[in-house]
């Protein structure tokens, strides 16, 4: 045993307790920053959920967008997901971390200035997200839709948060780092790595960029990010909060501290491997799919370990749960976590995934997590924290109970209606007649069948939202009753230099850093094992000779497709099932996507897959369909896009776009950027002429022409080979 080994088990603990005479230091906790984040959580929570509700209603009432492009489904859907994840949950994470880390470390935050930069920086990022999404500046990568300047701002603010967090740990007065702190550290490291790796992109202009990765590689990086954003933004920080606030609210220690140690290391190690389960049966190499499945199934063990640890903390105290709304919210939150983490592994099974991927089941699944786990834990923490910050009691337990029941009913309605919709639609997609043809060849039929379920979902969402409004009233009244304490005085013995004197102390100071690094190791291994072979082994992405880069006009059309968020409802990935190849055509091959920056495979089929859309319908059909979808498909819930017919296509950046794409590997021939616009105009004129000759009043310089050009190109490259055969 080394001399510098600290021994917490006897003497030092007594010293910390003040039983041995040591110097007691007085200091204060910064409550202002916690209050700011709490208010931000509430404000963004309302906005994020309201946008979600509007999006939910638009799914059966597309006219609700009033023909305004800034609020169509394709643009507000990313706004909703980002607002809930990064604005509501993000601010709640900061609120909980800033409150608990100070108390766990017995120290004020490392720097008040950094705290402020963290707060205002984060709010500015969210504001810029609201504006840029409405304007259609987005990268199309789910939960990473923000364009590159904002990505850089996120990195800066996240680093500021990290310095503040580590700084506080270094000057802490409590030698032991409680389990919650490890979760915070793992969150910080992993989110930083995920964000940077997934956001590497080639800028074209201030608000336009192309992902550095293409096709399959882009999909892999994106879902490595996407899945781990769920893991390390919606899960690990919240587990940290659970390990702090649940014992605090119940006033009893966590059920098993030993379990929490195992829970932590196994969870962060396994989570990072699970990303490929989002890409089962796609063109992703098989070995990567299997690896993702295996680890996803293993994930149930640590996840449930955490859930059990939370629930058993309340053993023998269930009478308190009956009395205390805070605990009610937390119990449902932890239960929802258990449900969602059971569902996750099940959905990663290939046969289950084959049936439920692209359906509303996934939407239900994430809402169990978001509304149940994140939402309810946040509400529980707010109900516990606000009265404490304001040194008073909660204004009304009765109102909190009403919120609880409205919220719970809301979750049940949202989840069950979507489960029902998912099963219905999945069965209809796959149903063949005895003669061997699709029973429901018209996709729209499968949509119309589930519209009542969308209505019920919106009702559930309204109930949940009403509950939140009640909470806001309750908390505002509470704030009014109490008096806010900005700097809360506290005292703690100075950290004790152990046997080794300075040496021991200095050694200890390094520890949070070591912890962070250890966590980084655990999460990196999985990612690296999955990445490197995919990038190195050429045979993983076979090239197809007939697959060529898009023309300038088609590329512009693709950019419009991204701007309007078409990928939110339409996939471009036909899985190798008879039901899909019969409905959509030849299944998708990895080699078809080698020039796709970013990939646009999508993750949900509210409308049909578009991978083989090219040539399926006439230009005329697309022209009228985009103008008014129900004119071509009666009853369609797709919104109209009238602005595409009045807005002129912006061709000022065509050359820059070609250059940017060439830099990241798209083989446009030398000098193409110089005459790209000439060729673009020629192609647009040809399309407009064709439309005019069939009596359609088309103008060649409008955006719709570019979009039609892109849609007609989709999936046609490999048809050349088929024709040759």
């Amino acid at each position: 045993m080394g001399k510098d080994k600290p021994d917490y088990s006897n003497g030092d603990i007594k010293a910390v307790r003040g039983e041995v005479s040591v110097k007691v230091e007085t200091f204060s906790y910064d409550n202002q920053i916690v209050k700011n984040f709490a208010l931000a959580t509430i404000v963004w929570g309302i906005i994020g959920m309201l946008v979600g509700l509007i999006a939910a209603v638009q799914l059966f009432l597309p006219q609700l967008n009033l023909g305004i492009q800034y609020v169509t489904f394709g643009r507000i859907r990313p706004l909703h997901t980002n607002a809930v994840i990064f604005a509501f949950v993000g601010n709640a994470i900061f609120m909980g971390v800033y409150y608990s880390i100070q108390r766990l470390c017995k120290a004020r935050m490392y720097s008040d200035l950094l705290s402020k930069i963290n707060f205002w920086g984060w709010q500015l990022i969210i504001l810029s997200a609201v504006v840029t999404f409405a304007l259609g500046y987005l990268t199309s990568k789910e939960y990473a839709e923000l364009e590159w300047p904002i990505d850089i701002a996120i990195t800066v603010v996240w680093v500021v948060f990290g310095i503040n967090l580590l700084g506080t740990l270094i000057k802490r007065r409590e030698p032991h780092m409680y389990v919650a702190i490890w979760f915070y550290l793992a969150t910080w490291v992993t989110v930083a790595i995920l964000h940077i790796v997934n956001s590497l992109e080639m800028p074209v202009s201030l608000f336009k960029s192309y992902s550095l990765y293409a096709g399959v590689q882009d999909a892999l990086v994106q879902w490595w990010y996407g899945h781990n954003a769920v893991a390390f933004f919606l899960t690990t920080p919240y587990l940290g909060l659970m390990y702090y606030f649940l014992p605090k609210a119940a006033n009893r220690p966590i059920y098993s501290y030993r379990l929490s140690i195992i829970h932590f290391w196994s969870l962060i190690f396994i989570y990072i491997w699970a990303g490929p389960h989002h890409l089962l049966y796609t063109a992703l190499p098989d070995w990567a799919q299997s690896l993702g499945t295996v680890f996803s199934i293993m994930l149930i063990a640590p996840s449930w370990g955490g859930m059990i640890n939370g629930l058993l903390t309340l053993r023998g105290a269930w009478d308190k749960v009956r009395e205390e709304p805070v605990l009610k919210f937390m119990v449902v939150a932890v239960t929802a976590y258990g449900m969602a983490t059971f569902e996750g592994p099940m959905l990663s099974l290939r046969n289950v995934n084959a049936a439920l991927h692209y359906t509303d089941w996934i939407i239900a699944h994430v809402h169990i997590g978001a509304l149940g786990w994140n939402g309810f834990l946040t509400f529980g923490i707010l109900y516990w924290l606000v009265p404490r910050l304001y040194r008073t009691e909660l204004f009304s337990k009765k109102l909190a109970n009403i919120h609880f029941w409205l919220g719970t009913a809301g979750i049940v309605f949202v989840a069950l209606s979507l489960y029902w919709a998912a099963i219905t639609q999945s069965l209809m997609w796959k149903q063949f007649t005895p003669l061997g043809v699709l029973q429901y060849p018209n996709f729209l039929e499968t949509v119309l069948q589930i519209i009542p379920m969308y209505v019920i979902r919106a009702i559930g969402a309204s109930a949940y939202f009403a509950g939140v409004i009640i909470m806001v009233v309750n908390l505002l009244k509470t704030m009014k009753m109490g008096s806010f304490l900005i700097d809360e005085a506290a005292e703690s013995p100075a950290i004790i230099s152990r046997n080794g004197g300075d040496r021991g102390h200095r050694w200890l100071e390094k520890r949070p850093v070591q912890f962070t690094i250890a966590a980084a190791v655990a999460i990196l291994i999985g990612g690296i094992v999955e990445f490197i072979p995919t990038f190195l082994v050429k045979s993983n992405v076979p090239t197809i000779a007939s697959v060529k880069p898009l023309t300038a006009l088609e590329q512009q059309g693709r950019d419009i497709y991204q701007r309007e968020g078409c990928n939110n409802c339409h996939s471009q990935m036909i899985r190798p099932f008879r039901s899909e190849t019969q409905r959509y055509g030849e299944y998708s091959k990895a080699g078809e996507f080698v020039y796709d920056h970013p990939f646009l495979w999508g993750s949900k089929r509210t409308g049909p897959d578009l991978q083989r859309e090219g040539g399926k319908y006439s230009d005329q059909w697309h022209f009228y369909h985009m103008q008014n979808p129900s004119s071509m498909s009666p009853g369609s819930i797709m919104p109209s896009y009238p602005w595409l017919y009045t807005q002129r296509l912006d061709i000022s950046k065509t050359g820059a776009k070609i250059n940017a794409l060439r830099k990241i590997g798209v083989p446009y021939r030398a000098g193409y950027e110089n005459f790209a616009n000439t060729e673009l105009t020629r192609q647009a004129d040809a399309i407009a002429k064709g439309l005019l000759s069939s009596g359609v009043p088309a103008e060649a310089d409008k955006e719709i022409i570019a979009l039609i050009a892109y849609l007609q190109r989709l999936g046609t490259d490999i048809k050349v080979i088929q024709a040759m055969k």
């Binding site: 080394g2 510098d4 080994k5 600290p6 021994d7 917490y8 088990s9 603990i13 910390v16 108390r103 766990l104 409590e174 032991h176 780092m177 409680y178 389990v179 990765y213 590689q217 702090y244 014992p247 605090k248 006033n251 009893r252 220690p253 966590i254 501290y257 030993r258 929490s260 140690i261 040194r391 008096s483 304490l485 809360e488 005085a489 506290a490 005292e491 520890r511 070591q514 912890f515 690094i517 250890a518 980084a520 190791v521 990196l524 291994i525 690296i528 990445f531 490197i532 990038f535 190195l536 590997g665």
Partner: protein
């Protein structure tokens, strides 16, 4: 894409070096006591100054 491979290679190298540091940290006692930490977080004594201030403000 080769830049990425190099980046990954170096992260792995750095990561492995610190894996050793991690094992060292575990061995040094952060996990020796598996009971007190869970109870300690519950013991945040309310300081007299804070209560005084509350009374004053009322």
């Amino acid at each position: 894409m080769w830049v990425l491979v190099i980046l990954m290679f170096f992260s792995l190298l750095v990561a492995l070096i610190f894996l050793g540091a991690f094992i060292w940290a575990v061995k040094s006692g952060q996990y020796d006591d598996k009971y007190t930490p869970s109870v300690r977080i519950l013991l945040d004594d309310e300081l007299k100054i804070n209560t005084d201030q509350k009374r004053k403000e009322k």
